[in-house]
Amino acid sequence: MQKAFSIKSLTGIHARPAKKIVETALGYPFDIYLVKKSKRYSAKSLVAMISIGAQYGDQIIVAAEGDGADAAIEAIGLVLASEH
């Protein structure tokens, strides 16, 4: 399952939110991916979360499969849509 979010933070996904995404993702036993311009990045990798280079206004799809995937997607979406 997947859901799209748009980046609300003016500074984009910088180190702090990137770290928050990884922290959140590591709490789930299944793979979670962020998709930008049809490229896939693992939400469990800080390197990936930084190299995604998500900027203000970008559309990002969060995708996961497994028990509790919807909760995981929402939790990560919360970070993506945060203004800070």
């Binding site: 003016l10 984009g12 910088h14 702090r16 693992s42 930084i50 190299s51 280079g53």
Partner: protein, 610 residues
């Protein structure tokens, strides 16, 4: 790069490196080399297929060791309540556990038969390249953290001891002289004078912000030493002379003697400085104000007897952090500076001057080919009006408590200036509506750095209450030469004594005085013992100088009896001359008290490199 000399004396190799004097004073301490990693040679070699298992195991151990080191550093920082620094290490720890990184390294070992070292190096290069290609300077800074982590692993694989990194310099190691290729401004603001006795960089010019920050912290510094820096070993005793721009190695006793001589001279000057400012103000009729960039510097300036602040560089409140300081935080800082000086003292606050070589983590400015000709100063503030408005509100609120004036950097056109005035009025209207008190008569001024403003200054003066001239930037834009250039011939062009720059200053002063408005100068030039009297002769009303490098100027101005008429005549004559060299020679001759004080002046033919 420049003439360095080596000799062998009593078995100890004695080296003398020449750079550019960037921050006055002498320091004697052991060297500490930072980030030399980037220059250490990469070692490329592969392994036999049968060795992959052991190589993977070695890699695993290196990761564990690196993790232990970082965790320990993290714990120490937490204990010292250095939350922001601790957070940087936390990010590094995350990198160390990164699945993508670890997987890529393992694949290179087991699939391509790379040695673990080489696998880490290759992975590091691949990922850094990817981050660099995003062209986002903020993320590129994170790449530095990432490289730091990779090098830690590589060091572990090589069995090498840990080298210093800026974050890890601990107080118990005693004072050190920091050696590095270059420092970004946000790194430089983290320098601690209680640990760093001196600073030597391979790159950078004397007008770079690293130099300015070192001066404001009172850390003696020599910049632009070039590759000679590589010849100094970690832990070697160094004598740094930030006044003449030299760094010496040699036997400790010899260096100590030389240091004592230097610092005795220095202390003599310091005593003069204590009572200096008030008298200068009195004798010459010129107000001498100080440049500050923090509350700590406001206190230093107050202690040194300054009667006010001529330039509060607020961007340093915004640097080295990922978020913007909120209105309340800024308000508290501005109010505190007012309360340090008292409610009758002028405090000129310059709004955030980001861009150029001062990058903010919190503001993504696209990489520019010529940052000094790009998005900086007021251009940034008008591009991001939300942050600008917050700052204006905080300053206006603080204006209720004292004599705050507002100064705007990098104004180039009348339209920009009108937008700025609009924003100020808008903020005032908002405060009135909320019944929050502020100074209705708050003065607004333009910082003249762009030649366009200088040329049309009469039009700006219709709405500006005062003018401040930033000579560092004005000279760079008038002469079309970068102030951070280390090329010797080019950096001579960046000389505030260039006749064209002086002529422009005279023009600005004449126009301002015709409209009954005051002009101050806040560039490095204002604190120079030859240039300051010249500025006074040109009619400049106020000088704003660094709270530390002010020492020489004050003692010099004090010891002379020339009055304004005489200085005016000297300035007129100086303007007729052809080159900075001729002007300097003439000034030396006319302002005789400077002769013989060569420790203050740079005696080579580049008078304004300090």
């Amino acid at each position: 790069m420049k003439n360095s000399s080596n000799s062998i004396l009593g078995g100890v190799i004695v080296m003398r490196l020449m750079g550019m004097p960037a921050s006055e004073g002498a320091a004697l301490a052991q060297s500490s080399i930072v980030r030399i990693d980037d220059r250490s040679k990469l070692q490329y070699f592969s392994i036999k297929p049968s060795e992959t298992r052991i190589e993977l195991e070695l890699f695993h151990i290196a990761v564990k060791q690196a993790e232990e080191e970082l965790s320990e550093i993290h714990a120490r920082l937490k204990l010292a309540n250095r939350e922001l620094d601790a957070e940087i290490i936390e990010v590094q720890l995350f990198f160390l556990q990164d699945a993508e990184l670890l997987e890529s390294v393992r694949q290179k070992i087991s699939g391509l038969f790379y040695s673990a070292q080489m696998a880490v190096q290759e992975t590091m290069n691949e990922i850094v390249e990817k981050i660099d290609s995003l062209e986002n300077p903020y993320l590129q800074q994170r790449a530095t953290d990432f490289k730091d982590v990779c090098w830690r692993m590589i060091r572990k694989l090589r069995g090498e001891d840990e080298q210093f990194s800026l974050m890890e310099i601990q107080e118990e190691k005693g004072k050190i002289i920091l050696l590095c290729e270059d420092l970004t401004p946000s790194e430089a603001v983290r320098l601690k004078p209680e640990i760093v006795a001196g600073l030597v960089t391979a790159e950078g010019g004397a007008m770079s912000h690293v130099a300015i920050i070192a001066r404001s912290l009172g850390i003696p510094a020599v910049v632009g030493v070039g590759n000679d820096l590589l010849h100094i070993n970690n832990g070697e005793w160094l004598l740094l002379n930030g006044t003449d721009g030299t760094v010496r190695t040699g036997a400790y006793n010899v260096l100590l003697d030389a240091y004592r001589q230097l610092s005795q001279r220095g202390e003599g000057e310091l005593t003069v400085e204590r009572s200096g400012v008030a008298k200068v103000t009195h004798n010459i009729g010129t107000t001498v104000l100080s440049n500050i960039s923090s509350i700590a510097e406001a206190r230093i300036a107050k202690n040194n007897g300054f009667s006010g602040v001529g330039l509060f560089r607020t961007e340093f409140l915004f640097m080295g952090r990922e978020d913007f300081p909120k209105e309340e935080e800024q308000f508290a800082i501005y109010k505190e500076v007012v309360s340090i000086f008292g409610s009758d003292t002028p405090i000129i606050i310059r709004t955030m001057d980001a861009g150029g070589d001062k990058q903010l983590c919190s503001l993504p400015i696209k990489k520019e080919d010529n940052p000094f000709l790009g998005l900086r100063g007021i251009r940034v503030s008008l591009r991001y009006p939300e942050q600008f408005r917050i700052q204006l509100r905080a300053i206006l609120r603080a204006s209720f408590y004292g004599q705050i004036k507002l100064l705007f950097p990098m104004i180039a056109t009348i339209e920009e200036w009108k937008s700025v005035l609009c924003e100020v009025e808008r903020t005032k209207a908002g405060l009135r509506k909320e019944r929050i008190p502020f100074n209705e008569q708050l003065e607004v001024g333009i910082l003249v750095e762009v030649p366009a403003v200088a040329i049309l200054i009469d039009r700006f003066l219709e709405t500006a209450d005062f003018i401040s001239i930033g000579t560092n930037d004005l000279t760079q834009y008038v002469m079309a030469v970068s102030r951070t250039d280390t090329d010797t011939t080019l950096s001579q062009l960046h000389d505030p004594l260039q006749p064209a720059a002086l002529q422009l200053i005279r023009h600005i002063v004449a126009e301002a005085h015709a409209k009954g408005k005051k002009v101050s100068v806040c560039g490095e030039m204002a604190s120079h013992s030859l240039a300051a009297p010249l500025l006074l002769g040109l009619g400049v009303d106020m000088l704003s100088i660094n709270c530390v490098s002010a020492i020489a100027l004050q003692s010099e101005l004090l010891s002379q009896n020339q009055d304004n008429v005489q200085l005016r005549e000297i300035a007129e004559k100086a303007l007729e001359l052809e080159s900075p060299g001729q002007i300097e020679q003439y000034l030396r001759h006319r302002l005789k008290w400077v002769v013989g004080r060569e420790n203050i002046m740079n005696t080579n033919d580049k008078p304004f490199r300090s």
